[in-house]
């Protein structure tokens, strides 16, 4: 089985990266890949529970994060430094995540056979 890491770097409604990252994660999960989703830098904003994208006439794609477990996407990793720099706490996030320090985050990423960065 292939291990795939998808790394989110962008805020949720900055362009299409967030939407297309979620599409990729769900597709990979459906095809039986072992998928981990990573959030770093502004990518951590995608995880915030309170979002009102309707005001931007955008689709609330981050709701799909709640469905990741049904697609066998078991690991959601978040960079601790990225959260702290943006004044975010884990309690503000919509789904259960694993928070890692930068070194462990990078180390975990490198355990994957394939890495796709969504920038």
């Amino acid at each position: 089985m292939t291990t795939l890491a998808i790394v989110n770097h962008c805020a949720p409604y900055a362009g299409q990266a967030g939407q297309e990252s979620t599409d990729l994660a769900l597709a990979a999960g459906s095809f039986g890949q072992q998928v981990s989703v990573f959030f770093v830098n502004d990518g951590v904003f995608q995880l915030i529970a309170q979002q009102t994208p309707e005001q931007l006439q955008r689709k609330h794609f981050t709701k799909s994060f709640g469905a990741f477990e049904f697609y066998d996407i078991e690991h959601i990793y978040v960079c601790r430094t990225s959260l702290e720099k943006r004044g975010l706490s884990v309690t503000e996030l919509a789904v259960e995540v694993t928070v890692l320090d930068s070194t462990t985050f990078n180390h975990t990423l490198l355990q994957h056979q394939h890495i796709v960065n969504m920038t």
Binding site: L24, F31, H114, V116
Partner: protein, 130 residues
């Protein structure tokens, strides 16, 4: 021999990814390795636009990639959803949607679903993203 999958997500014109990927692909072939496919996603799909027109003394990456892929029989796969969002449409989709302006996504580029990327990733030894 190593089998590579190339993923292109950077814009065809507003970044240098498609050219770097082209040079990389040439090196892969030169060294006796194989490319099992190139997958275009995000803004990378813009390379597949057949309506791109360049001045005669300008580099045309659509043409270069098309010729290279045909020469070495490398599949050029374009994510249909990402492509449609960016104004690229295949002949079949244009016909089904009665699109009056024709189509701009044609061979050697093929319009595929994300599942095809999963197949490429499973088959290859290494993947690289530009």
């Amino acid at each position: 021999m190593t089998q590579f999958c190339i993923i292109i997500t950077s814009s065809a014109l507003d970044a240098d990814g498609v050219y770097s990927a082209y040079r990389f692909a040439q090196a892969v072939i030169d060294k006796g390795h194989k490319i099992n496919g190139v997958f275009f996603y995000q803004s990378g799909v813009t390379l597949a636009n057949g309506y791109q027109t360049f001045l005669s003394d300008e580099r045309d990456m659509h043409k270069l990639w098309s010729e290279f892929a045909s020469q070495y029989d490398i599949p050029l796969q374009v994510c249909v959803t990402a492509a449609n969002r960016r104004g690229l449409i295949s002949e079949q989709d244009a016909a089904e949607q009665s699109e009056p302006n024709g189509f701009n996504l044609s061979p050697p580029f093929s319009s595929v679903g994300l599942g095809e990327l999963m197949v490429l990733l499973e088959e290859c030894d290494r993947s690289i993203q530009f």
